[in-house]
């Protein structure tokens, strides 16, 4: 029988900072499936997603000292490491060269359309985002899944920076409502 160990979040962080490998094993076993889900929402290709996951856990191990519990939960911090790593991969040269069968969209609004069609049973974040109205969907798709900054979005979509900010926030209020209903 495998022995079940559970740590509180603060215990786990403390042990990780002390470089305790059992704590890392626990961290991996506990969070890897959820983080894999997050990464695969951005990178549907499972092999590439696996490479990203590996890099994400190495980064978590190396950067745990800079985690600040006052700014949010451990999972939120890891989610952002995972999301950033996935976006870096999507934007990397090697990845784009492998995606040559994807035509380059001419209309920037098409950039905002998901590159894959989620199946109807999918209730992932990307599916929820696709339920938002068109310009909200575009902004969240480009900022969350493709990592464009507010300034880049303002230039790409030719809308003022302040409007980008307020629309993203309104889009997220809608997204929260979809999440609350579930």
């Amino acid at each position: 029988m495998k022995q079940e160990i559970t740590y509180s979040e603060s215990e786990l962080i403390e042990k990780l900072i002390l470089r305790e490998q059992e704590a890392f094993t626990y961290l991996y076993d506990h969070y890897a499936p959820a983080l894999t889900g997050i990464i695969q929402q951005i990178i549907p290709d499972t092999e590439t997603a696996a490479d990203v996951l590996q890099q994400v856990f190495l980064n978590i191990w190396r950067k745990i000292g800079s985690y600040d519990a006052g700014k949010g939960r451990l999972f939120t911090w890891m989610l952002n490491i995972a999301r950033n790593a996935a976006i870096d991969m999507v934007r990397s040269k090697s990845w784009r060269e492998n995606q040559q069968n994807q035509p380059i969209p001419e209309d920037v609004y098409n950039l905002g359309k998901p590159v894959f069609q989620p199946d109807p049973d999918d209730t992932g974040l990307r599916k929820m985002v696709s339920q938002l109205k068109d310009d909200y969907n575009t902004l969240v798709e480009l900022s969350y899944f493709q990592g464009y900054t507010h300034e880049e979005l303002s230039k790409m979509l030719n809308i003022p920076l302040g409007t980008v900010k307020t629309r993203i926030r309104s889009a997220l209020i809608q997204l929260r409502k979809i999440l609350d209903k579930r």
């Binding site: 470089r19 490998q21 890392f24 094993t25 991996y28 076993d29 890897a32 499936p33 959820a34 983080l35 894999t36 889900g37 997050i38 695969q40 929402q41 499972t46 092999e47 696996a50 996951l53 590996q54 856990f57 190495l58 191990w61 190396r62 000292g65 800079s66 006052g70 700014k71 949010g72 939960r73 999972f75 939120t76 989610l79 952002n80 999301r83 950033n84 209730t123 992932g124 974040l125 969240v140 900022s143 969350y144 900054t149 507010h150 900010k165 993203i168 926030r169 309104s170 889009a171 997220l172 209020i173 997204l175 929260r176 999440l179 609350d180 579930r182």
Partner: protein
């Protein structure tokens, strides 16, 4: 924008999902420090996000687990090779060579350990510097906020004079007549015992209206509750968490000009 409006403005969601701009994020973090209610609302969304991510789990490639654990184990033990190498039996015929290589190994390992330690130290000081930079930036933003509010032509300034000493103003209230925002700058209020708090009131037709409780800490500027109008402002000393009207002693007051 009051706290409730800020909480439901979408900033929590945009911060947690990592799509807030760096300025928005810095302000949000500072606001969370100031308002526990905001931090609690953030925590609520974080849990929701976490639960959703767990529901949406996918099975990771099992090979990753092994290679990660191996990589971690390697990173965790930087200095052990020294011991194992020195313990190997020297080759008799070329013992001078073996000795030399052991010495070389020890030297190299020692160097590696030194570098490792130096690197750790550097990492630590980088983290400390970053933290310092972050807090300086927050202070700068706070100052900029204060500056823009003070220089706003719609902002009225009221000096609240202490009931005990008239030498220095106890606090200044800045009231923006267009946004109805109220900010308080504490100038000279003595620290209170922990069970007491100061409370700011707006006096409207001689009736006190609560603008919020605060401590005389070292905050540069405090955002209080909004008010549509005020004839005067007053500060009283109340029990911590006072509800209802003023019950304690008047500490300072000032009339709107």
């Amino acid at each position: 924008m009051n706290l409730q409006e800020y909480i439901s403005s979408g900033i929590i969601e945009s911060y947690c999902l990592g799509i807030a701009s760096p300025e928005e994020a810095a302000t949000f973090e500072e606001m969370c420090r100031l308002y526990p209610e905001l931090a609690a609302a953030r925590n609520e969304f974080e849990l929701q996000l976490e639960n959703h991510a767990f529901e949406q789990s996918a099975t990771p490639d099992p090979a990753i687990r092994e290679s990660l654990l191996a990589a971690i184990a390697e990173e965790s033990v930087p200095a052990t090779p020294v011991v194992t190498m020195a313990a190997t039996k020297p080759v008799k015929k070329f013992s001078w060579l073996a000795a030399a290589s052991v010495i070389a190994l020890i030297a190299v390992s020692a160097l590696a350990v030194t570098f490792y330690q130096k690197n750790k130290k550097l990492e630590k000081s980088t983290v400390a510097l970053q933290a310092q930079l972050d807090s300086t930036r927050l202070q700068m933003e706070e100052l900029a906020r204060q500056q823009s509010m003070i220089s706003n032509p719609n902002t009225a300034v009221v000096s609240l004079v202490s009931t005990e000493t008239t030498a220095k103003p106890a606090a200044n209230v800045y009231w923006d007549s267009t946004s109805t925002d109220v900010y308080l700058v504490v100038r000279n209020l003595p620290e209170l015992p922990t069970e007491k708090q100061y409370q700011l009131w707006a006096l409207i037709n001689k009736q006190p209206v609560d603008l919020g409780l605060f401590d005389a800490g070292n905050r540069i500027i405090l955002k209080m509750k909004n008010t549509q109008k005020a004839d005067a402002f007053a500060i009283t000393i109340e029990k911590r968490g006072n509800t209802g009207g003023p019950k304690g002693t008047l500490s300072a007051s000032g009339k709107m000009l």
